[in-house]
């Protein structure tokens, strides 16, 4: 099909959000869950005349991602709409050590504008930084990037998606010329005869996703997670060895004749170099590094290689490493060797984490990026976006620091002195978080926009109370690359404003008009800014999304049908072929030793979400998952003399925390697992960064563990085994 021309400049404007498409119907507003990237469809209904307490959630049947299912997080999401945990007035403090007290919006915004101006006059434009989030709508993410570059004129903007999707994004972009989490509709998964899931626990992180998995499931995870228990084959690898696992599987696939030679010849380049490089990853070597028996490696390849349709998926377990890009690359190389990407019913995909983790990584809140998945160092991209923004391309700053490097630089002589945070809680979620909290404390100005008083907001000089999912409208792009409509179900509480309005007001105070507080207006601008880019939204309108239950990007014009499976005919690389890239293994940035003899790996539990700012304030979820814990192998527990329910102290070279022990044979004997929804765990994690994606090494570091009352050092667990 011939792609219609894109329509920069003459694009029809969407209807006003006040038109019927955005209005809640009598069954409630058809919207999506506030949490993960599955973006389950749900109706949110305020019972007529029932007052403040009665907002109900019911699942939508018409959204393919969940088809009527919801997990406990979704069912209970409305509690935060009416509970007392909400911020409903701006807060500020008179002195750095004074308490946060209520102030008016004008006062709050004036303080922010004055603070920004004072810092920038003294230290330059880059002395004020912005930190965004993967939960923000496309409109907010886009406007935040524009606000940084145009209103603040700072290069210093990045977001928490750097901690989430950056490794998979870089690897997929390199291999396919496009990073779209799943380059196929989620419903295609049901037809896959085999699925390899490397480093993901979807049974807990996005439960309705499990309904799409029907074929033989292979799970690679150091823990026997709920997902692994449902698998036909569990590859229980040592933390930090996913790359060796992928290389070993690829070696077997090639030597045992599963490589799809006609596909490789017709649709890829670079296979020869990869074939030669994985000759060094014979199965016995991979076994020694990963701890996965050769027999299981062979069985995994047999399941994938003999299936008529197969899918390889990666999650944060494989990606959140200082070698995350190379790890994902190796899994993509495996998928390419088996001939999966771009074939109906098969493929490679990554499982996006945050609610708008896909859209959030496309429209310019990333340090090196402009809207439409454009690069900020690309002159044509700068010219295009500058034209939409009505500025001189030369005015646009260049690339800035990546998320951890930005946080690490705060308050240092060459680093930013002011920071504006939207939709993120780095005090809980950043690696080496104790250090990050110290950097935040060293700022001259910290501004946080959030709906609750998160740990990060509690440190701020100015806190701006913002709207949440059911109180606002906008678009979210789910893990499939399907652009969805978030519809307003009820008015926000008095005193609360949307982030778009906040940014528009701040921009005006900084002498930069041209920012709208209206999502529909911002979306139309986003469409023009993204037009012609990789993530082209030009043809997507609120009306189309409503009528079609979502539109897959790229959709360059309104008569373009959208692109559910972008790789079927060709890959969006210059030559239309996918690229094999040879990579080699390297060990974790921090290996275990006599002083820190165990691995720590982190992850999520079903009843909490990310830094917990929302879910820790919902009663039913706290009943289900009340606090941090450390999962220990029975052998280690016996050595320490602890049982389930006892407290343990876990220490790394960067920090320490205490948690309740959970003794379980589901974890490897050499590894401790801790969920990261509570402040503490990330004090321990390692900020070693991937050289390409700048992803920190969240998923493996060296720790020691003891009873809190035992002597310090590593002696506490040196006793003889019982």
């Amino acid at each position: 099909m011939k792609r219609p021309e894109s329509t920069i400049g003459s694009m029809p404007i969407s209807l006003s959000p006040r038109a019927s498409v955005m209005s809640p119907a009598h069954v409630g507003a058809a919207t999506h869950c506030p949490y993960c990237a599955l973006q389950c469809g749900m109706y949110v209904t305020r019972e007529p005349g029932a007052g403040d307490g009665a907002v109900t959630v019911t699942p939508r049947q018409d959204v393919p991602a969940n088809e009527g299912a919801l997990c406990q997080k979704g069912w209970t999401a409305a509690e935060l709409l009416t509970g007392g945990a909400r911020l409903t007035t701006p807060l500020a403090r008179e002195r750095r050590d004074g308490p946060l007290v209520p102030v008016t919006w004008d006062d709050a915004l004036d303080r922010v504008a004055a603070g920004v101006r004072a810092i920038q006059e003294r230290h330059g434009a880059d002395a004020v930084a912005v930190f965004g989030g993967g939960g923000l709508t496309n409109e907010k993410a886009y406007q935040l990037g524009k606000f940084a570059r145009v209103a603040l004129r700072t290069s210093q903007i990045d977001y928490n998606g750097r901690f989430c999707m950056s490794s998979a994004a870089a690897a997929a972009g390199r291999a396919f010329g496009m990073d779209r989490g799943l380059p196929f509709p989620i419903t295609d998964l049901a037809g896959a005869e085999a699925v390899l899931l490397a480093g993901g626990n979807v049974a807990e992180t996005m439960p309705p996703f499990m309904r799409h998995l029907r074929g033989a499931l292979i799970v690679a995870d150091p823990r026997e997670t709920r997902t692994a228990r449902r698998a036909a084959l569990h590859l229980r690898l040592a933390p930090g060895t996913d790359l060796a696992l992928a290389l070993g599987l690829l070696h077997i696939a090639i030597t045992e004749g599963y490589a799809d030679e006609p596909y490789i010849a017709a649709r890829t380049t670079g296979f020869e170099a990869v074939r030669a490089s994985v000759a060094t990853w014979w199965p016995e070597r991979a076994e020694r590094v990963t701890g996965v028996p050769v027999a299981d490696l062979r069985e995994a390849v047999r399941l994938l290689g003999t299936a008529r349709t197969a899918v390889i998926l990666t999650g944060r377990g494989a990606e959140q490493h200082a070698k995350g890009v190379d790890t994902v690359t190796a899994f993509i190389d495996l998928a390419l060797a088996l001939g999966l990407p771009g074939r109906a019913g098969s493929g490679y995909g990554c499982l996006t984490g945050q609610g708008n983790g896909q859209g959030g990584r496309e429209h310019g809140q990333k340090a090196d990026q402009l809207p439409g998945y454009r690069r900020i160092d690309d002159q044509a991209a700068r010219a295009h976006v500058a034209r939409v923004w009505g500025v001189d391309p030369a005015e646009l700053p260049g690339p800035g620091r990546s998320a951890y490097e930005l946080l690490d630089a705060l308050g240092t002589p060459g680093g930013p002195k002011g920071l504006l945070v939207f939709g993120s809680n780095p005090v809980v979620s950043a690696p080496r978080s104790g250090h990050v909290a110290g950097r935040l404390a060293a700022l001259d100005l910290l501004v946080v926009s959030d709906l609750v008083l998160s740990e990060t907001a509690a440190m701020a000089d100015v806190v701006l109370p913002t709207t949440q999912w059911a109180e606002e409208h906008g678009t979210m792009t789910n893990l499939e690359g399907r652009v969805l409509l978030r519809r307003q179900a009820l008015a926000p509480p008095p005193g609360v404003r949307g982030d778009l309005e906040i940014l528009a007001d701040l921009a005006a105070r900084l002498g930069r008009p041209g920012f709208s507080g209206d999502a529909g207006v911002v979306f139309d601008e986003l469409r023009r800014a993204s037009a012609g880019g990789i993530a082209d939204y030009a043809g997507i309108t609120y009306e189309r999304i409503a009528a079609e239950t979502g539109v897959f990007w790229p959709a360059p014009s309104e008569d373009h049908p959208g692109t559910p499976r972008p790789f079927l005919d060709r890959f969006p690389t210059p030559d239309g072929r996918a690229r094999f890239v040879p990579v080699d293994y390297r060990p974790p940035a921090e290996e275990v030793d006599d002083d820190y003899p165990y691995y720590l790996t982190t992850g999520r539990v079903l009843a909490q979400y990310q830094s917990g700012a929302q879910t820790r304030r919902i009663h039913a979820l706290n009943d289900a998952a009340p606090g941090p814990y450390a999962e220990l192998h029975p052998g280690l527990a016996a050595r320490l003399g602890v049982s389930t329910g006892d407290m343990v102290r876990v220490e790394s070279r960067r920090g320490a925390t205490e948690a309740v022990a959970r003794v379980s044979a589901a974890i490897r004997h050499d590894t401790i697992f801790m969920p990261f929804h509570w402040e503490g765990v990330n004090r321990l994690t390692n900020p070693a960064l991937d050289p390409v994606s700048r992803m920190p090494e969240f998923k493996v570091c060296a720790v020691r563990v003891r009873r809190p009352d035992a002597p310090g050092g590593s002696e506490g667990e040196r006793g003889r085994r019982p």
């Binding site: 699942p59 009527g68 299912a69 919801l70 997990c71 406990q72 069912w75 049974a203 807990e204 439960p207 309705p208 996703f209 499990m210 309904r211 709920r226 449902r230 229980r236 040592a238 090639i254 030597t255 045992e256 170099a273 074939r275 030669a276 490089s277 000759a279 060094t280 014979w282 016995e284 070597r285 076994e287 020694r288 990963t290 701890g291 996965v292 028996p293 050769v294 027999a295 040879p582 275990v592 003899p597 079903l606 009843a607 039913a620 009943d623 289900a624 192998h633 029975p634 052998g635 280690l636 016996a638 050595r639 044979a665 490897r668 004997h669 050499d670 040196r718 003889r720 085994r721 019982p722």
Partner: protein, 462 residues
């Protein structure tokens, strides 16, 4: 010097650290580097020669001279001389000359083919195409792999070994016996305690005078380091070229790595140590890490032979110490070809043999490699799943606090309460509790519970 697994790896490691250094690799074999570890797979037909080729370094500005034999090292002039009259100057020379096959001094040894190089492999395969029977001399790792591979190609194979049991360097006697039984089941006749007197045109003659007919005789009698040029150049040579923790000889410009090197009294015959050594030398000669040192390697031997799983590591020959300093944990099931042995000292795994199906092989290898303390009862390391609590899977045994629906945190107690309040089918329980509405996997369990509750009700007389 040397374009095998050590030399080619070194070139890659150096290039990865330094883009500008001039690197020349001189290799005696005419073909590019290949993975010698996988030669027995080529012999067995489970890998093609193409598949075991290693990445060529020539593309990265590495000057590779194939099929060239070095004839002398001139330390004073800092150059090597080759058989074709070339003189190659060096600032740093790394010896990676590997080892050569030992050929026993017996009459007719030239009729046999020693397995060492890809060329040897080609010759054996050519002979195997016409031969119907083969004798493999030497029951070490390579001999066992070769015998298994040739049997898999349909030849009648006899494996001869001098001592009382196979792979005696790695295995104790009982493991050697179990391995022999496993091979017998795959069509390999094992003869231990067998001395070869001569190799005749029609077969192998033993010291007893018995002649084993064979159309093909393969020698796998071990290897010896190639050290002649180092010796001629006046470098210290023991079993191998003697090097320090920098992998350096007494001449600060000359290093040695891989099978030709002797470090701390040990010559390593496996690839993992050679690659660790290559990384250390690359760190040192490029200056990437001047503090890099090699401290020796832990050895794990993993047999590559289809249908025979064998891993052996460390001090497998240690016996139980009555004072308790050494503990030995064993499990044998010869009928199924299973032999598992753990050797534990000071609460650490110092040796292990795993023969036959061994789901914990990865766990044990890593415990041995890292030298960490053992996790709890070692029996759990022989039998996975021993540590797992048995989940209560019937509604009767399940406590009321057990979660039936994880996605919505619904316990058995809540389902019971809901049933007692009148919900009698799945739809009613789902509506009241949201059970089954997440991942959906608990639907059978919830239905089972409802059925059990209903059945109980019928049993109780009203």
């Amino acid at each position: 010097m040397g374009n095998g697994m050590a030399g080619s790896r070194l070139a890659a490691e150096v290039r990865a650290r330094d883009a500008d250094l001039t690197i020349t690799v001189v290799g005696a074999e005419a073909r590019g580097p290949y993975n010698r570890v996988l030669l027995s797979n080529v012999l067995a037909g489970t890998a093609s020669p193409e598949q075991v080729r290693l990445p060529a370094q020539a593309g990265d500005g590495v000057n590779v001279r194939l099929g060239v034999t070095v004839t002398a090292i001139d330390r004073a002039a800092r150059e090597v001389r080759t058989a074709d009259g070339w003189r190659e100057p060096y600032d740093v020379l790394v010896l990676a000359t590997g080892s050569e096959a030992v050929v026993p001094r017996i009459p007719g040894a030239g009729r046999a083919i020693a397995l060492r190089t890809m060329d040897d492999c080609d010759r054996i395969l050519a002979a195997a195409r016409t031969a119907t029977s083969a004798v493999v001399v030497g029951g070490g790792l390579l001999g066992v792999e070769a015998a298994r591979g040739l049997a898999g190609r349909g030849l009648r194979v006899t494996l001869l070994h001098r001592t009382g049991h196979l792979m005696d360097r790695q295995l104790d006697a009982e493991a050697g016996l179990v391995l022999g039984e496993a091979l017998a089941g795959l069509g390999v006749t094992v003869r231990t305690g067998a001395r070869v007197a001569a190799i005749r045109a029609r077969g192998v003659e033993l010291s007893t005078g018995e002649v084993l007919p064979a159309g093909l005789v393969v020698l796998a009698c071990g290897v010896r380091p190639v050290t002649g040029l180092a010796e001629d150049a006046g470098l210290e040579v023991g079993q191998g070229v003697v090097v320090d923790d920098r992998l350096r000889t007494a001449d600060p410009a000359i290093y040695a790595i891989g099978e030709c090197a002797q470090h701390d009294g040990t010559v390593y015959g496996l690839v993992a140590p050679a690659w660790e050594q290559a990384a250390v030398v690359a760190d040192l000669i490029t200056g990437a890490d001047p503090s890099a040192r090699y401290r020796g390697s832990r050895l794990v031997t993993r047999l590559k032979a289809r249908s025979v799983e064998l891993a052996a590591m460390g001090e497998t020959h240690l016996a139980e110490d009555p004072a308790g300093a050494v503990e030995v944990v064993m499990f044998t099931h010869r009928a199924r070809g299973i032999y598992r042995k753990l050797v534990i000292r000071d609460d650490r795994l110092v040796g292990a043999i795993l023969l036959g199906e061994a789901p914990t092989v990865g766990t044990l290898t890593q415990l041995y490699d890292r030298g960490g303390p053992l996790p709890g009862d070692p029996a759990g390391l022989l039998f996975p799943g021993l540590d797992d609590a048995v989940p209560a899977d019937t509604p009767v045994r399940m406590p009321d606090s057990a979660r039936v629906c994880e996605c919505n945190n619904v316990t058995k107690g809540r389902i019971r309460a809901c049933w007692e309040a009148g919900a009698r089918d799945l739809a009613a329980v789902t509506a009241a509790t949201r059970a089954t509405t997440g991942c959906g996997s608990c639907a059978d369990a919830v239905e089972g519970l409802i059925g059990w509750l209903c059945a109980q009700e019928e049993e109780v007389p009203v």
